[in-house]
Symmetry: C2
Subunit: 332 residues, 2 copies
Amino acid sequence: MHNEFDLVARHFYRPTPQTRLGPGDDGALLCPAPGMELAVTSDMLVCGVHFLPDADPGNLGWKTLAVNLSDLAAMGAKARWALLAMSLPAADEDWLAAFSEGFYACARTFGVDLVGGDTTRGALSLCVTALGEVPAGEALCRDRAQAGDDLWLSGHPGLAALGLRHLQGEIVLPEPLCRLCLHRLHAPAPRLALGERLRLIAHAAIDISDGLMADAGHIAERSGLTAEIFLHRLPRLPQGVEQAVAREALLCGGDDYELAFTASPRQRPALARIAAQLDIPLWRVGQMRADAATPSARLLDSEGKIVPLVKQGYDHFHAPFSGASPFSLAKE
Amino acid sequence: MHNEFDLVARHFYRPTPQTRLGPGDDGALLCPAPGMELAVTSDMLVCGVHFLPDADPGNLGWKTLAVNLSDLAAMGAKARWALLAMSLPAADEDWLAAFSEGFYACARTFGVDLVGGDTTRGALSLCVTALGEVPAGEALCRDRAQAGDDLWLSGHPGLAALGLRHLQGEIVLPEPLCRLCLHRLHAPAPRLALGERLRLIAHAAIDISDGLMADAGHIAERSGLTAEIFLHRLPRLPQGVEQAVAREALLCGGDDYELAFTASPRQRPALARIAAQLDIPLWRVGQMRADAATPSARLLDSEGKIVPLVKQGYDHFHAPFSGASPFSLAKE
């Protein structure tokens, strides 16, 4: 029978080579490098809202850290440290062992030290704070998009949302698409390498956690511009699934944690090189315009006509996890 | 009807004068001062475990931040920034307004910028990450106590625990003691000014969140020493309550968030000056000894005999909030 302190120590006190003082004291001590600013973000994942009660604990451990690192990627920061606060219904050693394996697998992959946190009894919820470094003045923010910027998108967002709908029994995905979608859902890879390369190239960036339309809308609102997204410039949709469903997932699915960013058209050659070097598809899906009576994102068809949307965002207080997709395309 | 983003923006986006980029982006950007190390700590407070469902939201807001700042105090850090991740069962505007008032009252009092966080739906729980600065090499840790050190205690710990027992109907406190105890329980004052003054004076420090015996035990274990605490050197017990109950609260009550620390006997004059300047009582309650077969804290009577203890710590997996006190004195 282990008590709280034993359990935490057994699974979460691993070496922290890039940290002056790791777990086990009142707090951790970090030494940011000279000339660096510190990017910091917190996310809370709640059982029944962000993941299902029977979620594989190894996948969950990976994802809990990955979604926070994705925020650092969107700032152009190098990920360095994390803290993990957990509320657990019981001291389940097998669950903790698997969760910590997944968490540390993600931490190792992206060079992060777990430096502290908290453990308490309660309904299962997980709160990670992630810290990274970015050279002073080079962080990517949401509010710096400029009129005339291209709007870019990384990877193939939407696959994770398709995986979720498959798990919820709403659609049936064929193999090998199903496996790919579930992998993206369970083990998203935060775009840290891309984020670092976008410093001094992108004007504004965001990670897609609420969906492309909603998150491009956040850039637009914060920058006082309109984000125009062209239907015919979107990534090709996967085969083996109804195309309207796949498009909805692409436009509203956030669980892939890809990046959306804006950059001057002069940066197109540089971005082509980055895409090739990192082997990440980068799609030039739209542009930022200054004619913004109400800054927002809008979807346009190939003739430049607006494609009406029902709802753009995900709101935890109105969209139950198991309910309908929080976004749907109105009739085109 | 407000959505999640409106609600958070309305109550939690206030100016962050000491921060390069505050809430509203993927993360915040902090600029630690040159030559400083960063102290960072996370605590999660869960409804039904750390506070009652009908807790006053203003008090709760204050305390949620204060308990984290107490960890920074125990490191000797100057508090600077905090992030707040909340899981809320409903978007209750009145509750959020009162909670944010309490939170910001604490933040203003101790010079902290709220720079970011997260809001989600779920059972009520609150996770704060607090960040502070401390000159490189001067942080107070738990593992630096030296044999021969005095063991010191600040303030009057135990009052908050008495207040809790009063609220739970286990004891009845007379006025004005009752009001004092409830104030300590609801609005603990983290000992940040004391922590900063203890840099280069104390060898080891901890904030008392698990109780004096347990937390002195943490210093002892981490330093490989025995902490001897003398019954006759403890602060005078409050009048109007059974003395055995008051003593138990003093030895096991953690909710006051006082500091325990060790220092060389040569520092007694300096500590007397600090106590006078800050108007905080400092009690020299014991000493650190090297004869530690099993490093721990022990309580001794005036003849040097060990006073047996039943249980020293608080373990969230074994001690329900509403149950018996997690610590009790055996027969003296």
